[in-house]
């Protein structure tokens, strides 16, 4: 649960940079994969949330859309 306390979090600019960097890494990995690789099961147990690696990318965008909507 978010708290109203700046000291509880890294600086917003740092969070944005970290987000952008990690997203760039995910996109680079995704672009390096072929259809067969994307259709494989995830390396870790996804507890039913995703079906395969392609679905992981779809759910990533799905989740981001939700929080972007909170900001929009």
């Amino acid at each position: 649960m978010p708290v109203e306390d700046d000291s509880a979090y890294p600086a917003f600019e740092d969070i944005q940079l970290s987000f952008e960097r990690s997203l760039d890494e995910v996109m680079a990995v995704a672009k390096s994969m072929n259809d067969e690789g994307l259709a494989r099961e995830t390396d870790q147990d996804a507890h039913g949330f995703v079906k395969d690696k392609l679905d992981t990318l779809a759910k990533l965008a799905w989740h981001e859309s939700w929080h972007e909507g909170q900001l929009a």
Partner: protein
Amino acid sequence: MWFPTVPSQRGSPDGLHLSTHSGNTMGIHLDSILAGAQRTRGLTEKLLAGISSSEAARKPRFEKNGAALVVDTNHPTFIMGHLSLYPSRVMMNFGLDGAAAAAPEAWTELLKAGAPCVDDVLGTLYPSLAVVSEQYFRATDLCLAGLAKIDDAKLSEPPVDERMRTNFPTLGYAAVFMLNNHVMLHMGQLSAWRRCYGLPSAL
């Protein structure tokens, strides 16, 4: 609940678990798109819980510097009405008959993308939240049921509609966005609206 809960054509009835589309396992995986859409539908039901019909078309307001500040955000009635416009369009782009899923013609100008969301103080500008939500769920269910019968190969084709084709080069791209990310974007807005009105987390 005043909106219909229809068992999904794919996935589990709660929309939270995935099924396997036995007919197609190659390509873009229509199963994943529709399973995500069912999850989104389930989340939408949760987010509508507890919203008062008298507040559903209102915008939050706060006091700032001694004056009332109306927060210019989309309210639930606008959001659900806006979202109800699209399932029939998705169906038509897939070559399906979307007539039964189409929203009333008069809603288009009122609720289309770019239309202003108005704080409906007198409650006379918009249909009720119950009405637009019923249309959204009914249209979504028809759309998902129709798409469940489509072959994955269709996902690689361009949309029929030129405007949709401009934004989405393939039907798969359009389906992922229109049935998942577009709805989730507006659910995020709805989530923020809920908190402004003192409603608890819907999750």
